[in-house]
Symmetry: C2
Subunit: 360 residues, 2 copies
């Protein structure tokens, strides 16, 4: 694997991750780009004790461009894109419309202490899986998937070292049904300036379980799913996938390494090799689930950097809003307003279907 | 106001709420209905410490029926619906496809204590605002809106007294963009067998604030918003509406009574009278926001029945996924997987627009 750093015209960083045999990449961005937008603001919700990024410049972001105007395709004569080279294997660059960006700054307080805010520091990156505009992660070959894993691990390590970053989130949104605004196969990485609400809630449960049993809850959940077996979807030498006991989504599967690690950067070479194949297999089963390209969110949960890191557990939560070939699940009142989920499909039946379409 | 109880053919309860001057309602349901579906199962997510209802019978629920087959319209000759009468003012009945229903039962534990579950007891009701199939809550007259408030308060009181119910949630999902499966103007009520995650998170903040300051956080937030003023949308004698400092949605407004009460049932007659007009005004401004019928979730947060009830605060959180006349906000990876929201619109600009369209 060869990494090449390119500085884009507005100062953003871009990294090529290439096979050793791939050609050299262009390192000059010829575009006249406007200065980067001001950093978004991060506001504290006093009632939920959560941080919300207010990023009004994102209202102008690129929205479903035609294939000819795709900013994630390689550049060609007279049509420069976000990637100056005429080809690439895997490329990662700073998002032009970030929800989090810039250096750490002061926290301000208003409203008699009720309203806290500061710059939404951190970093948002885009990960292009292939230079082919049509296609999907599931369509990559194993070598390319392995290169993406390497890029994810490298970015996780580097973003984790940025001042003020508390958690690195590697994810892919796939499909317009979940709001994808660019069709070119790509994922994203958010380096958050806080521990996310979901991770905070999980680690609170983990702490209570440690107190009560002396054991790690993630370890116990994986062991209990394996012993029960009804929701296990696949097992490989280093990885285990299952539909969780209390799945929230009509299609949902979680993937854990058998040996718990905090994040992608902590996976050894064997775990990474194995992951490339297992992940491709899961995504292909997803597309076979209803026989349509499955809209999905693939979310890599990683241990935070400052709090409870030793108790954390790298794992993938892969889920879909598709509840039938022609119907979507919406997060309506109960889910969106109250956080109380209703799943129309039994977790055991989700797992049965995901086993049935093995090798799809 | 006159309330009439009807028992439907499968044993479900239906309540008419009518003006005193309205005609008597039919009390016999002539339909041959199948027995009610088995109660859904409630499963505990050990990592998030949240309960998920697994309600597989809901997969078969009525999906966007033609106006002629609408189960929420009054019955007519040869075409009986969920409402046996040939007309109604406001009607409330138990949902035929409930996420929560039935009596309290035992809690079962599996997987060495990791997997807890029990019947998803509680109750789900449908609230029809008008017998007119076309239209919306915003199109009701003030007297009808007042009658709906009365029905909400009555149902809240009655459902709060059911064994095993810990929180009553009154809400409306409006618009197909947020997943509405029946177009007839209606809302819903969920009587949950747990305190919802959102309310639990709010009350944890309230408890910390009480400990730190001796004051109630809801009271302090309302006072701080009024003092600041930039996000205030409207004030009436008994009610205050503002866009919250850390709004999550491109359109969002919260409505509080000036005098804090735990729930709708605790509102006095003057607060209820005032609410009918204020709520209609907010919904009408919502439709004027982009000049289209706004898809929205109107969520009445009420104090739970068993925990911290005295600290709770009835309030409405009204929000929309619409981020432009032709674009929706989707809950993608950051929001759906990590609970970390990014708002493309500044709360102050949301409030300015909601003031601009006053009296719409």
């Amino acid at each position: 694997m060869r990494r090449t750093l390119v500085t884009l015209a507005d100062g953003r960083e871009l990294f090529h991750y290439d096979d050793d045999s791939s050609p050299e990449r262009a390192t000059h961005d010829p575009r006249p780009l406007d200065a980067r937008a001001a950093a978004p603001q991060l506001r504290h919700d006093p009632l939920l004790d959560e941080w919300v990024s207010v990023a009004s410049h994102r209202m102008e972001r690129t929205f479903l461009p035609a294939a000819d105007d795709c900013p994630l395709c390689p550049s060609r004569e007279g049509r420069p894109t976000e990637i100056p080279s005429t080809d690439y294997d895997v490329v990662v660059f700073e998002n032009r419309f970030p929800s989090f960006t810039g250096p750490v700054g002061p926290t301000l307080v208003e409203g008699d202490g009720v309203f806290e805010h500061h710059a939404a520091w951190g970093r948002c990156e885009v990960v292009c899986f292939t230079s082919e505009h049509e296609g999907s992660f599931a369509g990559l070959d194993a070598a390319r998937a392995r290169l993406v894993v390497e890029a994810w691990a490298d970015r996780t390590a580097e973003l984790s070292a940025l001042p003020g970053v508390e958690q690195v989130f590697v994810f892919e949104n796939r499909g317009e049904a979940i709001g994808v605004t660019m069709r070119h196969p790509h994922g994203q990485i958010y380096a958050y300036p806080f521990v996310t609400p979901t991770t905070r809630a999980q680690l609170a449960s983990v702490a209570r379980h440690r107190e009560a049993t002396g054991r790690n809850l993630y370890d116990d959940v994986v062991a209990a799913e394996l012993r029960d077996g009804r929701r296990v979807v696949l097992e490989s030498e280093h990885w285990v996938a299952f539909v969780p006991f209390a799945a929230r989504w009509p299609v949902e599967v979680h993937l854990y390494p058998r040996r718990r690690v905090p994040d992608l950067a902590a996976l050894d070479a064997e775990q990474r090799d194995d992951l490339a194949g297992v992940y491709l297999e899961l995504l292909r089963r997803g597309d076979a689930f209803f026989g349509i390209p499955l809209p999905y969110i693939a979310a890599w949960h990683q241990a935070p950097l400052t709090a409870d890191r030793a108790e954390g557990a790298l794992h993938l939560e892969l889920f879909s809003v598709q509840r039938a070939a022609d119907k979507l699940k919406y997060l309506a009142g109960s889910e969106s307003a109250m956080g109380a989920f209703v799943n129309d499909r039994e977790p055991e039946s989700i797992a049965a279907r995901l086993r049935e379409v093995a090798g799809a």
